[in-house]
Amino acid sequence: MLHQKAYRETSLILDVLTQDYGRIGVLAKGAKRPKSPFRGRLQPFVCNLLNWSGKGQLKTLTAVDTLTHINLQGTQLYCGMYLNELVVRLTQPDDQHEALFASYQSAVLNLMSELPVEVTLRVFEKQLLRQLGYGLLLDVEYHTGTPVEPNLWYQYIVSKGPVRSQVVNDEGLRIQGKALMALEGESFSEPDSLSQCKYLMRYILDVYLGHEPLNSRALFQTISTR
């Protein structure tokens, strides 16, 4: 479940990421009524088995069975909202992205685990871009095709990939080889690499998000600067 909004008095319109049908819109009739069988099961992040009818843009919910309860707290919750906003902003309704559901599910579960949330977010962002067809070149230098070297610095150009720093001056974002390798391997042993990747992903995502910034990102910023 990605998002819900009120519809009429007692119903909800749900934004749902499904395993086989992409992101879909579902109408949950009477879901806000005290005795509705849907009540309490349609909150964001929860993993449900859904039955629906209808083939149009807006399906009608017929049954819900909860598979995984997700209770995110504090920062985890902000991160979860960030994931949901990313998915809603970057995917089109009814577009299928085969592996996105699995990526999303493991990201939400990882948010509840011991894994640092920053790692979970970076890995999800990378996988999301790949599944949208904007996969990142991370392992080789764009012009030469030579493997990225940990101690060299590169300029990351969104339409290309890592370019050796001497070649280009200020185009792209400056990043060290070991940060690129950490993102490629989804394993961050150095805090510095993780922080470089945060700026890299922000830089790249901004290109695809256009002018409107992510609102949940502003939420983090307000907190951290206070």
């Binding site: 309490g40 909150q43 919750l77 206070r226």
Partner: protein, 197 residues
Amino acid sequence: MSYSPLIQQLINRLCVLPGVGPKSAQRMAFHLLQRDREGGAALSVVLAEAMDSVGQCQQCQTLSEADVCAICRSPHRDKGLMCVVETPANIPAIEQAAHYNGVYFVLMGHLSPIDGIGPEQLGLDKLASRFAGDVTEVILATNLTVEGEATAHYIAQLAEKHQVKATRIAHGVPVGGELEYIDENTLSLAFQGRREL
């Protein structure tokens, strides 16, 4: 079926009320016209007046025609204790149910990034300035939804920064609720919020 234009207009307008469809709007219109002209006239006057003069309390943001609402004005309320709620309708509910003698702050919503509602849109800077003033303790009574929880967490952080004590209302099994009939999410939250006896 067609009515005279004015009656039809009245029926259409009554449909703005929550839960009122064309059928009940028609019943209401005929009730007022046939049986209670006086009541209808009084309703129209007070409705116009309320729409025109009800604004928001400068201190707690609740709906009020006075610049400062009765609760915020009252000398008997503890100004150091504040309860944060999502909507004005929560206030009478708490007033009735809890022995609460503090003041309120009404957010008029909750944080919802996907809908474009951030701290700024909720007037949280105003809340922060209240924390910098008299308030020493805040009770977070936002809804027990994902957005309500995020909002409570955000305000708790804000409170911490101003050394204001923050507490969250408990969630769990409703009174008279048999476990068998409670949805799993509520039960799962109730387990998380369990306490020692």
